[in-house]
């Protein structure tokens, strides 16, 4: 019970203090426009397309970008494989054009595949260090995406042909990946084009399939 209680408290806290997605966007342009609509597409970790909205809000004299985002697995536009995110990101430290940014995102994901139907709640924390100018940015980022609690319903196919006693229910601590890579972007008037790519590792630092992520984003500030 201690472990499960603390995990649930963790989920709630993450939801309350959420921060993210800033690794994909240029913190130097927060004052250019307070609102950002964007779309991303790429391998993350499956082929995914997502659309989102972000708004920069000043709190105690500091700019924070809050965002919400929804995405679908793009292969055959499978609506059973989806994710929704809400996050916040900001520049944590700045020296001239060099910024250390931090973001945190609350994730919820769904899937339906050959062996199970799943729905999870998780979080992603990412830090990025790089040069952020008004017209462009380039940064290295590192983060962790954690599936904190997952509800699983085993498929009839799996039960019928393979394992009839497979258990449905809430699974704790079922998944987690580290990600590290590069992010960069250029501004074209009010628009930003960004690229983000890197490598994925399991929590025990083992390699994964696919071993990497890559996504392209297009956003417009206003």
């Amino acid at each position: 019970m201690n472990r499960t209680t603390s995990t649930i408290l963790g989920v709630l806290l993450l939801a309350l203090v959420a921060r993210d997605a800033v690794a994909q966007w240029n913190v130097a342009r927060f004052k250019t426009g307070r609102n950002l609509v964007y779309a991303t597409a790429g391998l993350d970790p499956a082929l995914v397309t997502a659309v989102g909205y972000a708004r920069v809000i000043e709190l105690v004299g500091h700019d924070f970008q809050f965002n919400i985002e929804g995405g679908l697995a793009a292969a055959h536009m499978d609506t059973r494989d989806f994710r929704a995110r809400a996050g916040i990101g900001t520049s944590l430290l700045r020296w001239r054009s060099i910024n250390l940014t931090g973001s945190a995102t609350f994730n919820t994901r769904g899937t339906e595949n050959l062996i199970y139907r799943g729905f999870d709640f998780g979080a992603d924390f990412t830090g990025a260090l790089g040069v952020y100018r008004h017209g462009w940015f380039a940064a290295a980022d590192f983060g962790k995406d954690k599936a904190i609690i997952t509800y699983v319903t085993q498929s009839d196919w799996y039960r019928t042909h393979y394992y009839p006693d497979a258990k449905d229910g809430w699974y704790l601590d079922a998944g987690g990946t580290f990600h590290y890579g590069l992010a960069s972007g250029v501004a074209l008037g009010p628009a930003e084009v960004t690229l983000r790519a890197g490598w994925l590792r399991t929590e025990k630092w083992d390699d994964m399939l696919p071993p990497m992520y890559a996504s392209m984003g297009l956003g417009v500030r206003f």
Binding site: V11, A75, N107, I115, A147, Y162, W170, T202
Partner: protein, 335 residues
């Protein structure tokens, strides 16, 4: 304050839920427990490990050792070959030895250090010496099991009296490299591959249960050119993901190119070998086996119509008839 009325309800709901949470790595939740986790399963101790194993027939009879597919599969589907069809069972005349290879099926799991071709060969040699001391055995291998049988025959030709190889995989690295593009459907937009990738947001392969569970995702759709039955699929209890990965890696160089050769010493094995293939099977089917049988000094190929790579599962009576015919013809040499 009115807006927060939902909060106790939500917290209560989460609390109730929290009492019923499970850990994915606990035995029996996602995948069946192994013999190391469930003492009721039939098992043998050997070479510092515990293997899931079953036996049929009279131990005094000549021994047939079954070698399942994979690497990383199990013997569940091959059990049909022990059943009685048309009034005949192999167990009437032979002692049948079924076992899940190290780290596979319901056998005990091990780290990658103990998942090598040399360890596998030593396990099979120990099994042969335990159940057929001083008398050569018959090997029946399916897919990877056919490769494993060939590897063992190559190393110990005097310990084998005969072999039935059901659609064996590539017997050397060059062949493996040649057919590699056809082995898996790696189209980036394919449903199974995206499901596999998307799964990492839910389960990551950081313990044996999760990695074996993840492995099941590709069972039906990853190898379309194998033309296996999708309605009545070839069953397994549990895949051994780590065994699959590291046994294959052990046959590759540091660039991931297959360099193994299980055929270098096959000239020393003069007993006839029976190859069996399903007519629909495109990758490991008749055309490949026509080439592979030439690696043996004496071999014949029988093609079963109307079956894919899972020929022994979907056409068991026909395959059993072929095996019986082969064994009957070899009776003088294997008693």
């Amino acid at each position: 304050m009115k807006r927060l009325r939902w909060l106790p309800l939500a917290l209560g709901g989460l609390g109730v839920t929290a009492c019923e949470t499970m850990m994915p790595g606990d035995p029996g939740n996602l995948v069946p427990p192994t013999v190391a986790e469930d003492s009721r399963l039939p098992a043998i101790e050997m070479n510092g490990s515990r293997f899931h194993a079953q036996f049929f027939g009279n131990p005094a009879n000549p021994v047939i050792v079954f070698l399942h597919g994979g690497p990383g599969g199990d013997y569940r589907s091959m059990l049909r070959l022990s059943e009685r069809f048309n009034g005949y069972s192999l167990a009437d005349e032979y002692f049948l030895v079924y076992w899940d290879q190290r780290g596979s099926g319901l056998s005990m799991r091990h780290g990658k250090e103990l998942l090598t071709l040399a360890v596998y060969s030593n396990d099979l040699d120990s099994l042969v010496n335990r159940y057929s001391p001083g008398r050569p055995v018959i090997l029946i291998g399916e897919s990877w099991g056919g490769m494993f049988a060939t590897s063992y025959i190559n190393d110990h030709p005097g310990r084998v009296a005969g072999a039935v190889l059901i659609e064996p995989g590539p017997l050397d690295g060059a062949t493996a490299e040649r057919i590699k593009p056809d082995m898996f459907d790696l189209d980036l937009t394919s449903e199974w591959l995206n499901d596999y990738a998307w799964n990492s947001g839910f389960f990551t392969a950081d313990d044996y249960a999760r990695m074996d569970y993840e492995r099941m995702l590709g069972l039906r759709d990853a190898q379309p050119l194998f033309h296996e039955d999708r309605v009545n699929p070839l069953p397994v209890w549990r895949l051994g993901a780590l065994a699959s990965r590291y046994i294959q890696k052990d046959g590759q160089d540091e660039r991931g190119v297959s360099v193994y050769d299980f055929t270098a010493n096959l000239a020393a094995f003069t007993a006839p070998v029976l190859f069996i293939a399903g007519s629909w099977s495109e990758v490991l089917g008749p055309s490949l086996q026509q080439q592979q049988m030439l690696r043996y000094p004496s071999a014949t190929l029988q093609v079963v119509e109307g079956a894919g790579h899972d020929v022994a599962w979907v056409k068991t009576p026909e395959v059993l008839t072929l095996i019986k015919g082969y064994l009957d013809a070899r009776k003088g040499s294997i008693q």
